[in-house]
């Protein structure tokens, strides 16, 4: 008689799964007009999930026959994901109502996508990696085309779906090669097998690993797998873009780190080259691609590509400090992006949503506080001290320099310099251009989120820097300790 698996480590995920199904039922039975209720209940269930996460078992717990792992590395990332998803839902409600796509499925799909992300972060086997990734991606494809009557939105959804399916194919192909040549899919067993192998690692495993890395690089939109990002960011409803820019990135990069450091830790020499290339290319493309953009959502897409490049710099160092740096970077990235997207979501001219940089013209005269907050975010994204973004870059570049990756660090600094140009262009539009048509007053919720994020980015982060740093350090140590 088989015994029940230990459910305690997976309690947050089980709760979220049940909660999202219950929310679906509530929405179905209340019918249209239940968006607001379901959204707030979704946020509440995210909060409960976060609480359960913090109450979870200490140390590293593996359950479900080795498919699922709960450790402090995962907990750190999951908390970031839950915060990002909650804020995305909070910001979406007003936008969806104004765009007349207020349907209760939206928060339910975000809850299910978040569940997929939690499953990704906790994956301890190539199979659980894949199912978590698909749960996340499938929900994201649907919400990308949520405005189904708008051609751009359906195009974004379809484009994301086709390319996403391709990347899943690459990942699966890589996973099958790894299984074929190493004889196991479990991360723990893979680590032992690859550590025990003498001489040069098997070519099949290396090729498989590169394919898995390519599939995951697509999900974090690292160059050369970034082509979908600008189109999807531009086409998807803005509230969806705000969600895409943060939570899935955190989940995918965490999974990326877990896969590369855990099972493939002994192939570090092989994957470091790949990651270094991706990091350098992402930073350069992110910086150069954004210069031409007039649409602020496309600008943010290139900006996110660049930021993923900076985060990968930390990973390519392959050290505990590097992983710690990536986690700190993602935490700060979350705050900056949520703030910027809260502002983009409130860009409306007499009720109509606008998304050109020129529409921000003269914002300092019409909404001085909003303009100031946007300026703070832009400074921070550019990585200018003393804003929080600078410390994020500091945390990823320092380990890279310690690991002797001087060329990468130099590319990063140059790319940062170039990217300053387009971030400053937004500030120039707000402070020095003339008002074309004043923007509407932002809703109180958006204003609240903008103010909170701006204050966090500068100067409140100083108080949070030490808990974030110690949390990230513990998380990175847990990941490396498990090897």
């Amino acid at each position: 008689m088989a015994t029940l698996p230990d459910l305690a480590p997976a309690l947050p995920e089980i709760f979220l799964a049940c909660a999202s199904m219950a929310l679906l039922m509530i929405g179905v039975f209340r019918g249209d007009g239940s968006l607001r209720l379901v959204s707030w209940l979704t946020v509440a269930s995210f909060i409960v999930t976060g609480f359960l996460l913090l109450q979870g078992p200490e140390g590293r717990a593996v359950t479900f026959n080795g498919l699922f792992v709960a450790d402090s590395f995962g907990t750190f990332a999951k908390l970031l994901i839950l915060i990002a998803s909650s804020l995305a839902v909070i910001l979406s409600v007003n936008y969806l109502e104004k765009e007349r796509v207020a349907r209760f499925e939206y928060p339910v799909l975000i809850a299910l996508a978040t569940l997929g992300m939690l499953a990704m972060v906790s994956a301890n086997d190539l199979i659980s990696l894949y199912v978590g990734l698909e749960l996340q991606s499938l929900a994201l494809y649907v919400i990308a085309s949520f405005k189904r009557d708008v051609a751009k939105s359906t195009e974004a959804g379809l484009k994301y779906f086709v390319l996403g399916a391709l990347s899943s194919g690459l990942l699966l192909y890589g996973a099958s090669l790894v299984y074929g040549f190493a004889g196991t899919t479990s991360f723990d067993k893979l680590a032992t097998v690859l550590a025990g192998a003498e001489g040069a690692p098997s070519v099949g495993v290396v090729i498989g690993m590169v394919f898995v890395a390519a599939g995951l690089a697509f999900k974090i939109s690292a160059v050369p797998f970034h082509m979908w990002t600008p189109d999807v960011y531009e086409g998807a409803p803005t509230s969806v873009t705000a969600f895409f820019a943060v939570a899935p990135k955190v989940a995918a990069i965490t999974l990326f780190i877990r896969v590369l450091v855990g099972p493939f830790g002994d192939l570090a020499v092989q994957w470091q080259q790949v990651i270094q290339f991706c990091a350098a290319a992402s930073m350069i493309i992110g910086a150069l691609g954004a210069i031409q953009q007039k649409n602020i959502k496309r600008l943010m897409a290139y900006s996110s590509i660049g930021h993923i490049g900076y985060a990968l710099v930390g990973l390519s160092a392959g050290s505990v400090e590097g992983v710690r740096g990536v986690l700190i970077y993602m935490a700060i990235y979350l705050a900056m992006n949520v703030g910027v997207f809260a502002i983009i979501l409130s860009m409306r001219q007499s009720g109509r949503a606008v998304e050109e940089i020129a529409d921000l013209g003269g914002l300092s005269k019409t909404h001085p506080m909003l303009a100031f907050a946007m300026a703070v975010f832009m400074w921070s994204l550019a990585g200018v001290p003393p804003a929080a973004g600078f410390w994020g870059k500091w945390a990823v570049f320092l380990p890279a320099i310690q690991a002797g990756l001087y060329p990468l660090a130099i590319v990063g600094v140059i790319a940062s310099g170039i990217s300053c140009f387009y971030y400053l262009r937004v500030i120039k539009a707000m402070y020095f251009d003339d008002v074309t048509e004043p923007l509407d007053r932002p809703t109180p919720t958006a204003g609240f989120v903008v103010a909170g994020a701006a204050l966090f980015v500068f100067p409140v982060y100083i108080f949070f820097l030490s808990p974030i740093t110690s949390g990230a350090a513990a998380a990175a140590a847990a990941l490396f300790g498990a090897r």
Binding site: P5, N65, E105, G180, G183
Partner: protein, 205 residues
């Protein structure tokens, strides 16, 4: 022993021949029928190796549902298959490249197997329980519902998302459609809707 061998070759030959006919048959309905034949023979091969559960599932799921669905699609939709074939020579080089890659991989895999198998040896593979002790239904159940129950449950959620997605993206509530209102139907009393009239003989209603 010899009977099994004869049965194996019979099933295998028919399977391969019908598989070839699936892609060469001019009439798409014939293609689907050959596909069904191929499934039946594959099921026969499964029975020969003692995997009776898989054999039955193959017949029930693939023949009973999937192939019949294909048949419906082929017969209901008016697709000109001659037109579809026209790009054959155009796509041939791409197909050859993909085929070559697959062939190289197979050789690569075979060489590795001959050179001593996977890096970690066969010990890493999930142990296959002996056929005489565990029926294959039980073995599959063990893998699906016990060892990989987590993946199974998450797959269920993925299907739920697919369902929600299909509804979100395609369901439109059309105004002016007369829908069945079950509550109203059940609320009707006999007295409200049925009248008993005395019809006089030869008088009409």
């Amino acid at each position: 022993m010899t009977l099994t061998t004869i049965a194996f070759y019979a099933f295998a030959i028919v399977l391969l021949a019908s598989a070839v006919r699936v892609i060469t048959a001019k009439n798409p309905v014939h293609s689907v029928l050959f596909l069904i034949l191929a499934f039946f023979n594959a099921a026969g091969l499964f029975v020969l190796i003692g995997a009776e559960f898989v054999a039955m599932i193959l017949v029930i799921v693939y023949v009973g549902a999937v192939a019949v669905l294909f048949l419906f699609v082929v017969m209901m939709l008016d697709i000109n298959f001659q037109e579809l074939r026209q790009g054959f020579m155009q796509y041939m080089p791409v197909g050859l490249v993909v085929g070559a890659i697959l062939a190289v991989e197979l050789v690569f895999l075979a060489v590795t197997q001959l050179a001593g198998g996977p890096v970690g040896g066969q010990a890493n593979n999930a142990p296959i329980p002996p056929v005489d002790q565990v029926t294959n239904t039980e073995a599959i159940g063990q893998i699906l519902y016990t060892d990989y129950v987590y993946a199974f449950q998450v797959s269920g959620l993925i299907l739920l998302v697919a369902m929600i997605g299909a509804i979100v993206l395609t369901l439109r509530s059309r105004p002016g459609v007369r829908r069945q209102q079950i509550g109203q139907q059940l609320d009707r009393k006999r007295a409200e809707v049925v009248q008993v009239r005395k019809v006089p003989t030869r008088g009409g209603v």
